[in-house]
Symmetry: C2
């Protein structure tokens, strides 16, 4: 079978990926995200540095890939979970529910979400599914707004920015300790815009 | 004079700092921020690597220090410039004017602001002066709000997050090209919360 070899190589690549993700997850749990390096991951996974580099490109890419697995499960709840997070509730209520769920998600995955920040890479936690979701709900709740594309971008930033950016200064409170306030003020924000 | 030496060392440190800032500024202008390294800066400034390391701690710290110089001028406009950015206008109008000025500031200094992002460091552009300013104006415009501390944090994130985080994906528009839309939707946001 002449095409056997490429297919085997693709299967190898998929196995390597799953193996690397699993080893990276163990290393984060045991050592903490700041101790995980490209070289350390290659050594522990028993794979070449080139393989790890081609797979993740940057150190932040490792955390990006780990977070991506969690993101997929989160998106599934928006698409087919029960309302008001899932379909079936008014748009403003779904926006409030989305904010609550997203804040809880980011608090649960703060270490990964921050470690995956890399000035040279797009921000995974602000990826298009979240932005697209807010855009759709916002234009349903406020079809009259002109600059709703940038307003959606600002709302996603209002939701994710405090945990990704501002609550990491050494004198800042732990995100978990202010998540209830963040959920409450997100609701104020949404209900001000979508009365 | 027994205290002569420490005083001289402090003067040396201040001269080194001013010299390093000036050399870093030249390097950013000539080479681009991504080519500026701790080692390169030490070599060009004719100072030891230890001196550069003690001064800036991380590579991002170099850009943090450069941005800090611009931030001081910006804060001065809020404190004593003409209204509505400076004192003398109603709080909601000052918030709208602050957003416009801050967005223009971030677009002008996008390269520095992003280069100073470092997951291990507090975010300079979200530093306490901006947050404090929004907090003061928000509690003046809406003294009835309970969670106004976290709402102020979310508003600062709405203002700065799009340029710092989300408008840097490879397929994102240039911040300069959407700054007018960002200013317009910031105004919608402020006027929704402070009617």
């Amino acid at each position: 079978m002449p095409w056997g070899r490429p297919r085997e190589e693709r299967a190898d690549a998929a196995r390597n990926r799953a193996h690397l993700i699993e080893v990276a997850r163990q290393m984060v749990a045991e050592l903490g995200a700041d101790k995980v390096t490209m070289d350390g991951l290659a050594e522990r996974a028993g794979l070449g540095k080139g393989t790890v580099f081609r797979r993740f490109r940057t150190r932040a890419g490792i955390f990006h890939a780990l977070l991506d697995e969690e993101e997929k499960r989160f998106q599934q709840r928006l698409l087919s979970g029960p309302p008001p997070l899932g379909p079936g509730a008014p748009a403003a209520e779904r926006l409030v529910a989305f904010g609550r769920a997203r804040l809880e998600f980011l608090v649960e995955h703060t270490v990964l979400a921050r470690a995956s920040l890399d000035p040279a890479e797009p921000v995974p936690a602000g990826d298009s599914p979240s932005l697209f979701h807010v855009q759709v709900l916002l234009s349903e709740a406020r079809p009259d707004l002109a600059a709703s594309g940038t307003l959606a971008l600002q709302l996603v930033a209002a939701l994710e920015g405090p945990i990704l950016l501002y609550l990491r200064a050494s004198d800042a409170p732990e995100p978990g300790s202010v998540v209830h306030d963040l959920i409450a003020s997100w609701q104020v924000l949404v209900e001000s815009i979508c009365p």
